[in-house]
Symmetry: C2
Subunit: 518 residues, 2 copies
C-alpha cells in the first residue's frame, strides 16, 4: 500500500488511489485548477412520469426496488436531523432484505443514531462510508474494520465532488419533513421539521434516482420547495422520519466553563478591536459552546456600540435568532438549523434564509459566499505552531468528527480559532497536527485562555492590535507554556499501517489521510 503514497504540497503522504480510483494530491490553496465539465445526469422525460404528478410509492423498499437498487451502488442521505434521523438505518435494513451488497453510503454526515448500520458494514451490505462520521461509526472506521477507505469532505467539498462527477450518486434518499406527491419538499414545517434540506441539494440535482421520504404529505404544491419535485422519482410516506428534539446535540449548548467563556470574550473583543465589527459586517460562529458564547459577547458589544450586521451565517441557534429579532442583523443566511428556535425562525421569518453548500461553500463555483464573510469563529481538535489545524481526529489518532463547513469557512476574510490550550491535560497546541484539515495560511488567529496568537502572515491584524489590552502572544511561546503545564507534548498516536480515511481539501484534492488506531 505504501508504494501508492505520494507526498502532497503540505508535506503529507497521501494515497494516490482511494477505493481503486485515482485522486489528486493537495497542491496548495487555490493552486489546483479543475478541468472538464460538470457531471451530466441522464435526460428524463415527462412521458415516463405520472401525468397527475402523483409519485407516491408503497414503501421505502418498493421505491428502492423501482429505482433499480443493486450491488455496488452509491446511496446518499442528508444529516439535517443530526442525531435524530430515523430514515438512513431503514434504507440499509431494506437493502439487506433485498439481498443487496457492497453499497457505498454517501451521507452528508452520520451520527451516533446510525450505529445500527455497523451490522450492515460487518455483513457486507455497506462496503464503506464516504462522509463525516461522528462517534461510533468514526470509531469503527478508526479501528480498521471498514472494508473500503472512508473519504471525508467538507460540506462544500461534498457538493463539489458530486457536481464534478467525482462521486456519482445512484440513489438519493431525502428525508423531508413536508412534501407533496410530486416530490416538492421542505424542511421548515411539519411534525418533524428540521429547518432546511440544503445538504441534499446536490443529491437531488445530480443523482440518477431521487426518493423523497416524508411523514407529512400535503396536497401539491409544497412550499417552499427547498427540493424541487422535478428532480424526484418517488415519494414514500412513513410514520416518523426524524426526532427534531435530537437536532440539538451536545455541540449546540452554551459553555459554562470559565476558561471557555474567557476565550469567547477574548475572541469577541479581538473582533471589535481589529475593526472587523462595524456597520454592515458579517460573521459566522459554529455550534460549539465557545462559538455560541462568542456570538453572545459580540451581540452585547454590537448593542453597546449601536452596530448592525448585514448578515450572520448559520448554523443557526436561538442566539442568532434573537440577534435577528432584535434587529442586530438584516439577515441570517443559514445552512443548518442547530436547534428548534432556528427551525421556527426559518419558517416564520423571511429574513432567515436557507442556503446550501452550492451557494455557500462549493469551491468549484463562480465564487461562493464563504470568502465574503468578514470573520468566522471555528473549533479545532488541534492547532500547530504553523497555524495548521485538525478537526477530524484527536491526538490519539482516533477519527471521531466530521469536517462540516469548517474547511470552507477558512476562506473567510478572517478566521479565528478560539480553543482551549489543553483538553483532559492533553495539549491542543502542538508542533504538528495529527491530521491536517486546514492549511495554516488560512488560519489567522488562535484565541486561547492563555493568550491570542496572530498568524505572522497577517501583519495587518498584528498592526491593528498594537497597544491592545488583550494578551497577544507568540504561538510557539504558548505551546511551550502549555507543554510545561501538561508535562510535555501529547504522546504520538499508536497507529497501524492501514489507511482508513482520506481527507479532502475543498477543491477535491487529498490533503491528508488517517491511519487505523491500534
Amino acid at each position: 500500500m505504501n508504494s501508492d503514497l505520494i507526498q502532497n504540497t503540505a508535506g503529507r503522504l497521501v494515497p494516490k488511489y482511494i477505493n481503486g480510483e485515482e485522486h489528486i494530491p493537495f497542491q496548495g490553496v487555490g493552486k489546483y485548477r479543475p478541468k472538464g465539465r460538470k457531471a451530466a445526469p441522464p435526460i428524463a422525460s415527462c412521458a415516463d412520469y405520472p401525468e397527475d404528478g402523483n409519485k407516491v410509492a408503497a414503501d421505502l423498499k418498493t421505491a428502492l426496488k423501482k429505482c433499480g437498487i443493486k450491488d455496488g451502488m452509491t446511496i446518499s442521505t442528508h444529516h439535517h436531523f443530526r442525531n435524530g434521523d430515523l430514515v438512513a438505518n431503514q434504507i440499509f435494513d431494506a437493502a439487506a432484505e433485498l439481498g443487496v451488497k457492497d453499497l457505498r453510503w454517501f451521507p452528508s454526515a452520520s451520527f451516533p443514531c446510525h450505529a445500527p448500520n455497523i451490522k450492515h458494514l460487518d455483513s457486507g451490505v455497506i462496503h464503506h462510508i464516504e462522509g463525516s462520521m461522528n462517534g461510533p461509526l468514526g470509531d469503527y472506521c478508526s479501528s480498521g474494520k471498514m472494508r473500503g477507505t472512508a473519504v471525508l469532505r467538507s460540506h462544500g467539498g461534498r457538493y463539489q465532488a458530486v457536481q464534478d462527477g467525482e462521486v456519482h450518486i445512484d440513489i438519493a434518499v431525502i428525508a423531508a419533513p413536508t412534501a407533496d406527491p410530486f416530490g416538492n419538499a421542505t424542511g421548515d414545517r411539519g411534525p418533524s421539521a428540521c429547518g432546511l434540506l440544503g445538504f441534499a441539494l446536490a443529491d437531488s440535482q445530480y443523482a440518477d434516482r431521487v426518493i423523497i421520504v416524508t411523514d407529512n404529505l400535503i396536497p401539491f404544491p409544497c412550499l417552499p420547495w427547498q427540493i424541487h419535485g422535478n428532480y424526484v422519482d418517488y415519494v414514500v410516506v412513513m410514520g416518523k422520519i426524524g426526532e427534531p428534539a435530537k437536532i440539538v446535540s451536545g455541540t449546540t449548548e452554551i459553555t459554562k466553563s470559565p476558561d471557555r467563556l474567557l476565550i469567547a470574550e477574548y475572541a469577541a473583543k479581538f473582533v471589535a478591536e481589529a475593526g472587523i465589527m462595524r456597520d454592515g459586517f458579517s460573521f459566522q460562529a459554529g455550534a460549539g459552546g465557545t462559538s455560541l458564547s462568542f456570538a453572545i459577547f459580540l451581540a452585547d458589544m454590537m448593542k453597546g456600540k449601536g452596530i448592525k450586521a448585514r448578515y450572520l451565517r448559520g448554523g443557526s441557534t436561538q442566539y442568532l435568532v434573537k440577534m435577528l429579532e432584535e434587529g442586530l442583523t438584516d439577515y441570517i443566511l443559514d445552512g443548518q438549523t442547530f436547534d428548534l428556535e432556528g427551525v421556527r425562525s426559518m419558517r416564520e421569518n423571511i429574513n432567515h434564509v436557507n442556503t446550501s453548500p452550492f451557494t455557500s461553500y462549493n469551491y468549484h463555483g463562480k465564487g461562493n459566499f464563504a470568502s465574503i464573510v468578514d470573520v468566522v469563529v471555528l473549533g479545532a481538535t488541534e492547532v500547530d505552531v504553523n497555524f495548521n489545524a485538525n478537526v477530524v481526529t484527536h491526538s490519539d489518532g482516533r477519527l471521531l468528527h466530521g469536517i462540516g463547513g469548517w474547511q470552507n469557512c477558512l476562506l473567510s476574510k478572517c478566521t479565528i480559532l478560539p480553543i482551549p490550550c489543553f483538553r483532559d491535560r492533553i495539549p491542543v497546541i502542538v508542533e504538528k497536527v495529527t491530521t491536517l484539515c486546514g492549511p495554516g495560511e488560512l488560519i489567522d488567529v488562535v484565541v486561547s485562555e492563555r493568550g491570542i496568537a496572530i498568524n505572522p502572515l497577517r501583519q495587518d491584524l498584528i498592526d491593528k492590535m498594537k497597544g491592545s489590552s488583550l494578551p497577544i502572544v507568540n504561538i510557539r511561546d504558548l505551546k511551550a507554556e502549555v507543554e510545561d503545564l501538561c508535562g510535555g507534548p501529547p504522546a504520538p498516536p499508536k497507529t497501524g499501517d492501514k489507511i482508513v480515511a482520506a481527507i479532502k481539501w475543498v477543491d477535491g484534492t487529498v490533503i491528508d489521510c488517517v491511519k487505523s488506531v491500534e
Copy 2:
C-alpha cells in the same frame, strides 16, 4: 432545400437540418424518448473569481469582452420586461462596436422594442434569432430576410433545449432589477422591478459565461436570489435597464367586446358545469383579454359557490392578485408578471410564488407542473376541425407571435381555447391550421361565441355536458356556419419556398415550419 424535408407524424413536412444541424421530426405526443445526458457546463473554480465577491465590471462592453465574445457565439436574453426591455439592443450595439459578427441571438422572446436590432441582422452582427418574435422582428423573419432559420420554442422547450445541450449558450446577459456585486439577482424589487427572472434560469445554469446587468446594485446579499450569483461571472451597472410600465402590453388588457365577453362567460360556465371548478382545483388563464375575462367570471362563480382553488398559475395580473388577496386561492404559482400589481404581489405576498420553465414546463424533467393543472384557457390564431391549433402565424402565413408557455400548458388535464369564430371577417376555425403548434389530441374544448365544440376524444366531457344549457356544437358545423358568414374559408397564404422558421414541440422535435411570405 425541399430534398431535406421529411414528413413528421403529424403529416407536416419539416426540415431535417436547421442551420446546419440535424433535428428530429415530431413523433407524436409523448412518443419521442430522449437519450443521453444533460448539458455539462465547464467546472469553475473560486480561485478564478474575486475573493471579496465583487464581480462588477466597468460596463457592458467590457463585460462582453471579458467573457470572450467572438464571431458565431450564442448570446441569450430574457423577456421579463416584455416591450420595456432596454438591455438587449445595447448588447448588440456593443457587439457591433467590438466588430463581432454572426451571433445567434437566443432570447426567451423578442418584442417591438427590439426592432432596432434589425440593423444588426442586416449588417451581419446577428446571424439569426432563435426565440419568439412578436411584431417587427417576426415580420422581418417572415419576409425571408434573416440569414439563418428561426427556431421557435415554448418556454419549456427553451429550457429543454438548453438543458439537453441542443442550444449551447456562450454568454447569457440577464437584466436584473436588483442585484448584488456577487451576482445574486431578483426581479421583484428595485426601480425597474419586473417580477421574476425565471426565463433566465436555464441561461444562468448552463451558459459558459453569465453577465448580470442591473440598475439597482445593493450590498450582498440580494434577496430573494432568483438568480444565484454562484453562476455569475460579471455584474454590470447601468442607468436604466427597463421600463416596467411597458410590461403591460396590449395582450394584458381586459376585453370590452360583447362577443369575447360571451366567449369568456361560456368558458367559465363550462368549467363549472363540467365539474372542474371544485374545492382545491387549479387553473391557468393566459394574458389575453378573453382569458382575463374568463378568470373574472370564474372568480364570481367561485365566490357564489364558496369554492377555493389550491393554486392559480400565472402569468399574473391584477385579477389573479385580487383572487389571492380575497382568499379564493391558496397560491399563485407565477411564471411571468403581466402587470405591476403582479410585481407588487410577488414582492409582498409569500403565497405569490415565482416559478420557472424548469419547474413548470420542462418536458425533459421528472414531470412538470403543467400536467397537474386542472384546466387551462389559452388563445390561438387558428384551430382546425381536428382541434389542431396555431399560435404563431396568421392565416396569411405571417409569423407574428411567439409560442410562450402555450404548448406546455396543453398537457393540462383540460385545455380550453376560447376564440372568436372569425377576426376581421377571416375565419379562425379552419380545415387545416396554417402552422401546427398544438396537436388536436391535446385540445379538449373550443369555446366560441357561436357554440362550444368538445373534442370527440373527451367522451367524459361530452357526457358531463349532456343536458347543459350551454350551446354544445360540432366543430365541423361551426366551421361551416363561419364560412357561410365570411364568404368561404380563408385564402391560402402566399408563401415562398424559403423556410424561415422551425416550430419545435415541447420535447425538442420539429412539429412544423413556417415559409417566407411573398
